[in-house]
């Protein structure tokens, strides 16, 4: 049997591929992992692998964060070398990062390797986002597309991709969240650590350049959150500060309102538990929108668009952008809703469906 090759480069990819990797280990399917270390934290990621109880990557590419032309270039070359050596039967990539693009590109002209794209068919229709380009290219190069929901399948079909390449599986994030929240609850207690009461605190994360690189946007967001303290008693917002955001806060000399408490970014397991016990989430991250939805916590997205419209459709998420007024009105709106949505991302058995599709090809 030929091997499966997992190519991953960032934390979200590790998380979302983790159920598949665990399943391969469980079913004794030969596999290996290529870690591109796109976010230049090989050592930190080693801890992360351990935390999630995952085997380490067999290959670490250490490409670092150069300009993305150069970064993708060195990834493609390195990945091809490994492919030639290991001769995998299938390459699995996930999401929309440069690692996905490089993995798909490196294997694109090897006709005996199946390229499978996990989380295919996502579109924000915002071409200014480099990730959108990565998504489009990866989807059109891949041989098997695992669409999280029927919506993504329809998008792909509309783009002319043959139906027989697409399989709706649900999102592996559900599989991952289900397992990982259990691990987390056993390991730690965040309520104690942050001295908060369950469902009486909120969470804020900001890292997208469109938010944190503009002083005006940061100020508008903080003004909204400040006002919310009086309106809906948001008196404790835990702000997990991304290094880029911190740098800009200092650069712009912005003072945070009293109801926002800045803390260092936390590990994945801790974050998961923090989300699960929060009253409300404010974020510009795509992954957190999903996790909040799965853990049944309302979410306000501080962006103008989303690749996760399902979360909006079922009522668990509102796209508020950066305008103060909109943030306030959206928050009031979502807090008035009852939390009774059904998880739109699948039943937590996505990884099994995927492996079942891939196994005969190995």
């Amino acid at each position: 049997m030929k091997k499966i090759c997992f190519i991953l480069g960032t934390r979200p990819e590790i998380i979302k591929l983790s159920p598949l990797i665990r399943l391969c280990r469980l079913k004794n399917i030969p596999y290996f992992i290529i870690h591109t270390n796109q976010h230049y934290s090989a050592i930190l990621d080693k801890i992360f692998f351990k935390e999630l109880n995952l085997p380490y990557a067999k290959y670490n590419l250490n490409v670092g964060s150069a300009n993305h032309g150069l970064q993708t270039a060195s990834m493609i070359i390195a990945i091809e070398k490994i492919i030639i050596k290991e001769k995998p039967g299938c390459i699995i990539v996930e999401g929309d990062t440069n690692s996905v693009l490089a993995g798909a590109m490196a294997a694109a002209k090897e006709f005996n390797i199946t390229i499978a794209h996990v989380e295919a068919g996502l579109r924000s229709y915002d071409r200014k986002m480099p990730e959108e380009i990565n998504r489009i290219v990866a989807d059109h190069i891949s041989d098997i597309l695992f669409a999280p929901t029927i919506i993504q399948k329809e998008i792909l079909i509309k783009e002319g991709i043959p139906k027989n390449k697409i399989l709706v599986t649900g999102n592996t994030i559900v599989d991952a969240v289900k397992i990982n929240i259990e691990i987390s609850n056993k390991k730690m207690n965040v309520l104690k650590k942050y001295n908060v009461i369950e469902k009486k605190y909120s969470i804020l994360t900001l890292h997208r350049p469109s938010n944190v690189d503009f002083k005006i946007n940061l100020i508008k967001i903080f003004n909204g959150l400040k006002a919310l303290e009086k309106i809906v008693f948001l008196n404790k917002i835990i702000f997990l500060v991304h290094p880029r955001t911190l740098k800009n806060l200092n650069k712009f000399n912005i003072k945070l309102p009293n109801n926002i408490k800045m803390v260092n970014p936390v590990g994945y397991l801790e974050m998961l538990q923090l989300i699960s016990k929060a009253r409300l989430i404010f974020t510009d991250s795509g992954g957190i929108q999903e996790e909040a939805c799965i853990l049944k916590v309302p979410c306000i997205t501080l962006r103008n668009n989303t690749e996760r419209p399902e979360t909006v459709k079922i009522g668990g998420n509102i796209i508020a952008g950066q305008e103060t007024k909109k943030i306030i009105s959206s928050t009031i709106k979502i807090l008035n809703r009852k939390i009774k949505w059904k998880n739109p991302f699948g039943d937590g058995h996505s990884s099994e469906k995927m492996i079942r599709r891939i196994q005969p090809l190995l």
Binding site: L70, I77, K109, K128, V137, I141, K158
Partner: protein, 401 residues
């Protein structure tokens, strides 16, 4: 005000032939309109010095910038495989975009060079693609991936014929990005046929007009296996018993013949083996041949325009128009019989099938580009339009607020 800067980025010689008129139009137009045109080359292949002569022959100036991808790989003694080529191409393209800060980059065709549009698009620069919408639906062809990739990234897509446009529409590409222009090869042939007529290739090879077969086979599907090569060439010998066969051989094909030990079997008093020919000489032979055997898409188009029947020895084609017009016989088997069949084609087919409007495709593109530049099309093309996105999302996802 900063001038709009458009870059034409080419990679291989046939691209240059097709683009020569548009490049010249864009160069000349700079004095009348408010834009700058830069002309660049990725140097995907190594035939760099050869190219110098080639530009002169075509009457195109030398590029403003050459990424020298092929040359660098060869000099550095690197593997010249796909990954290295792609790697270097991505790296150099990113450097180029940073250095020249273009407002749009224009590509043509389906070579590996067009894959660098991925980098361009990711850096937020609009992409223009000429020859958009060509599909062979043959996934073993590396070019198919290139075509699909660039088409889905492009901001403006110029399609040759309406069928290409409908392919793009069926793949969900919005109509406002697509324009049908006619096949740009028309401009090349119209302009260069006089030069071709001036060559002495017929007398050099001792050929008479309409009394010989012209053959070019270079695709891997035709030349990489001994059995297939043997099949093709024994049929060619059979043809040579009836008339002269001109056979320009690419070095790779010649090597394969040698390697498989069948080069001797091709020797026949009526088979004229030559080195690869210059563009003008080849064009002249295409015009004067009685019938052409080829696996090249370009030759398929050129033979239709020049009025020479053609047998395309391939499994699939991106250009079914030439078959429908009655100018081409497509088959990857039985070269002899299919060539005979091609000889029975009546050459009164419509030679404008590839360009029904009979306008110069380069001029159509040029005028359209000017209009788009003046209307700020490119500025708005990547601007995030909230209402529009909502509309698209609504279409895609049904009602949601």
């Amino acid at each position: 005000m900063k001038k709009f800067r458009i870059i034409s980025l080419l990679g291989i010689r046939p691209d240059l032939i097709r683009m020569f008129k548009l490049i010249n139009l864009l160069d000349i137009g700079q004095s009348k309109n408010n834009y700058e045109h830069l002309f660049m080359h990725t140097g995907q292949h190594f035939d760099y010095e050869l190219d110098g002569i080639f530009y002169k022959e075509l009457g195109v100036r030398l590029p403003d910038y050459n990424m020298e991808v092929g040359k660098t790989l060869k000099k550095g003694g690197h593997n010249t495989g796909f990954a290295y080529q792609m790697g270097l191409l991505f790296e150099r393209t990113a450097e180029m975009v940073e250095k020249f800060k273009p407002d749009a980059v224009m590509y043509l065709g389906d070579t590996n060079t067009v894959l660098s549009s991925v980098v361009v698009a990711r850096m937020g620069v609009p992409v223009i693609h000429l020859e958009a919408g060509g599909r062979s639906y043959d996934w073993r062809m590396p070019e198919e991936i290139n075509r699909i990739t660039i088409d889905h990234l492009s901001d403006v897509l110029y399609s040759y014929v309406p069928r290409y446009k409908s392919i793009l529409l069926s793949e969900g590409i919005p109509e406002f990005r697509i324009k049908v222009i006619g096949n740009i090869i028309h401009d090349a042939i119209e302009n260069f046929i006089y030069k071709a007529d001036q060559t002495n290739i017929l007398s050099k090879l001792k050929l008479q007009s309409k009394k010989f077969v012209l053959t070019t086979l270079h695709r891997e599907e035709n030349t990489n296996s001994k059995q297939i090569l043997l099949d093709k060439f024994s049929d060619l010998i059979k043809l040579a018993n009836e008339m002269k066969v001109v056979l320009p051989l690419m070095p790779r094909v010649r090597n394969n013949l040698k390697q498989f030990g069948i080069l001797n079997q091709v020797l026949h008093s009526n088979v004229i083996i030559t080195e690869p020919l210059g563009f003008f000489e080849f064009l002249k032979l295409e015009k004067e041949a009685k019938v052409i055997i080829s696996d090249s898409g370009t030759v398929q188009e050129e033979s239709l325009i020049l009025g020479t029947p053609c047998h395309i020895s391939r499994l699939s084609t991106e250009r079914p128009e030439t078959i429908e017009a009655g100018a081409t016989i497509l088959s990857n088997k039985n070269l002899y019989n299919n060539t005979k069949k091609a000889l029975t084609l009546k050459n009164n087919w419509n030679r404008w099938v590839l360009n029904p409007t009979k306008k110069s495709p380069s001029e159509v593109v040029y005028n359209d580009l000017m209009e788009k530049i003046n209307n700020n099309f490119f500025k708005n093309s990547r601007k995030f339009n909230y209402t529009k996105q909502n509309k698209i999302m609504k279409q895609a996802y049904g009602i949601f607020k």
